[in-house]
């Protein structure tokens, strides 16, 4: 049997195990282990399985993951999100759909610090949904904007998925963080345009509110200054080359704790809960990275990605056609795979193919995160949709599905724009790092 056939069987076995409810890390580990054993024998496979966990578990570069998760957990506990929404609401007073746009802006800002889509969607739902409903907003528009806004947390840096992608694709974290910023802001803008368009198309969906003087609006920006300081110091520090990602994450986490205590928004019990959540989240993440490394070694040995590339060349498929197929595959996988698991399973297979067609791995990393975002919000299984319904059980899931549909256009438009203008993602990293 050829190496590529073994690789294909391995991928099928992986998906079969995932469908049979085997945890993602075990499916990756077992397929990776058995596959490597078939390809290169038992002794080298045991050597690999012995060193991978220690190499991953002692990697300085991966220390950025728990530290940024801690920063996000503490930020969630301190209620910074509430200040952000209040400021956005005042700034956009008088604009039809202003509360939905404000929720999107606050989600983008909060997601930037938090780094988790689900946490952003849950937090902003608690804060913004009651206000939107009180103002007479349609449940679909309100929940759609919150679900879409929540997904921004994984694209705007710091993004845990981008760190994981960097580890598996051997790319620079600062470069990926720089690449994620402009598309993240562009996606926020596109989501806002969708919210305004829906609000103006169906005026009953978003009753107009009274405007406020500019003096009041500008004063409102002062509210979330702590958030702005945290973002500028951490992400600005990375972009400026002042801090490494680990240093920025440490300072961000420390800063969030100090801001929390100084503003009396954080208690010791809140902090302990944040730390406990961080440990539990990272416990889940790191075992997946162990398994993904084994699986990745297996994929390299099988040369399955090369076979896929040869197949694409044989079919005379162009680069954009191959990328379009990959994106469709990601959207389909997004129906049943969780974001980080999806990245770790698919990147070892797709990235070599993408490179062969001349695409930049940093650009591809951003594309992957955008399609993971789509997976988080597309019906029927987008996780953010269920998060919102869990917080507002009286809203029917069908209303949430209806509400999210127009927002799905935004990431698809962004993907098309990124194909046409790759500089959207690549300009900033090139300007900063050459």
């Amino acid at each position: 049997m050829s190496a590529s056939s073994i690789g294909a069987i391995g991928v099928i076995a992986l998906f079969a195990m995932l469908f049979l409810r085997v945890p993602v890390w075990i499916a990756l580990t077992l397929v990776g282990f058995v596959g490597n054993a078939i390809m290169s024998g038992l002794a080298p496979t045991f050597a690999l399985a012995g060193t991978v966990p220690f190499d991953v578990g002692s990697a300085y570069t991966l220390s950025v993951v728990p530290l940024f998760v801690l920063m996000g957990e503490v930020a969630s506990e301190t209620g910074l999100s509430s200040d952000l929404f209040k400021a956005a609401k005042v700034m956009l007073a008088g604009v039809r759909g202003g509360l939905a746009v404000g929720a999107l802006a606050a989600s983008a800002c909060f997601g930037a610090v938090c780094g988790s889509s689900v946490a952003t969607a849950a937090t902003m739902t608690r804060i913004a949904l009651p206000e939107m409903r009180k103002a007479g907003y349609d449940a679909g528009l309100a929940s759609g904007s919150l679900a879409a806004g929540g997904s921004l947390g994984i694209l705007i840096p710091p993004s845990i998925i981008l760190v994981i992608y960097a580890a598996i694709a051997e790319q620079s974290v600062p470069r990926l963080f720089a690449a994620g910023l402009v598309p993240g802001l562009a996606l926020t803008g596109l989501y806002m345009m969708v919210a305004v368009a829906v609000a103006n198309w169906r005026k009953s969906y978003a009753p107009a509110s009274d405007g406020l003087p500019w003096r009041v609006r500008l004063a409102a920006i002062k509210g979330p200054w702590q958030f702005l300081a945290l973002f500028v110091i951490t992400i600005g520090g990375i972009y400026a080359g002042v801090f490494s990602p680990t240093e920025a994450a440490s300072i961000g986490a420390f800063g969030a704790i100090v801001i929390g205590f100084a503003g009396r928004r954080l208690s010791i019990s809140h902090l302990l809960r944040s730390i406990e959540n961080t440990v539990a989240i990272c416990g889940v993440l790191f075992v997946i990275v162990f398994g993904a490394n084994l699986f990745s070694f297996f994929m390299v040995q099988t040369q399955l990605p090369s076979l896929l590339a040869q197949g694409a060349h044989a079919l005379n498929l162009s680069g954009p056609a191959v990328m379009a197929l990959i994106i469709v595959a990601y959207i389909v996988f997004g129906c049943f795979l969780e974001g980080i698991g999806m990245v770790l399973i698919t990147v070892p297979v797709f990235l070599p193919l993408v490179k062969q067609f001349g695409y930049d791995p940093v650009w591809f990393g951003v594309i992957v995160v955008i399609v993971v975002e789509v997976g988080l919000i597309h019906p029927p299984v987008g996780l953010n949709l269920f998060v919102i319904q869990a917080h507002a059980p009286d809203i029917k899931i069908t209303s949430i599905y209806r509400g999210i549909v127009p927002f799905l256009l935004a990431p698809l438009v962004l993907i098309v724009l990124m194909f046409l203008f790759p500089q959207i993602a690549l300009w900033l990293p090139r300007a900063l790092y050459g």
Binding site: L18, F19, L20, R21, V22, P23, V24, W25, I26, T29, L30, F33, F46, A47, L48, A49, G50, T51, P53, F54, V56, G57, S58, A59, Y60, L62, S63, P66, L67, L70, F243, T246, E247, S250, I251, A253, F254, L272, I275, E276, T278, V279, A280, C282, G283, V284, F286, V287, I288, F290, F336, L337, E338, I340, G341, A390, H391, P393
Partner: protein, 167 residues
């Protein structure tokens, strides 16, 4: 030893490992913050901060897993829950519990040889001077604790997400 006593002891083990991981996380954060502060303010960084962060990572990663295993927090694709009979789902959860113990056992067995080699070669962290075999020992003890917590999960009822109350 009865089942409840065993579960109680394993829960204590999980909490102990969680606390160790929490301490490692805080140390990692504080060391880095102090290092940056001393570097930029006094031009005098902490010499072994890099090694210390790596050492704390080992403590954090290998002790942080136990909670995920005991509380079955690992990511699963639970599509089958909505189509399969409850008994079948419980069987799959049990199967996953067994595979978890097997996979962790596989890692523990595989990690012994490089750990012994590290001890034999007398490798040390460059700046901290810490023998690397100590970190291997920490990793092995941590992952063994995680395996015991996975065993505890096997003793617990097999509950799928649809059996849990909505948050």
């Amino acid at each position: 030893m009865n089942r409840d006593l065993a579960l109680g002891l394993l829960e204590r083990l999980r909490v102990a490992q969680l606390r160790l991981a929490a301490v490692a996380l805080i140390v990692m954060m504080c060391v880095t913050v102090v290092d940056v502060f001393l570097r930029y303010v006094f031009n005098s960084p902490i010499r072994a901060s890099y090694d210390l962060v790596e050492a704390m990572m080992v403590l954090f990663v290998f002790n942080g897993m136990s909670t995920a295993f005991l509380q079955r927090r690992n990511i699963v694709i639970d599509l089958v829950d909505s189509i399969a009979a409850r008994g079948a789902v419980q069987f799959l959860i049990r199967l996953s519990d067994l595979l978890t113990i097997f996979a962790l056992g596989l890692f523990i067995y595989a990690m012994f040889t490089p750990a012994l080699q590290s001890y034999g070669y007398g490798e040390r962290k460059l700046e901290l001077g810490l023998p690397i075999w100590i970190l291997w020992a920490v990793a092995l003890i941590g992952i063994a604790g995680a395996a015991l917590c996975a065993l505890a999960a096997f003793l617990l009822p097999a509950i799928s997400r649809r059996d849990e109350p909505l948050e």
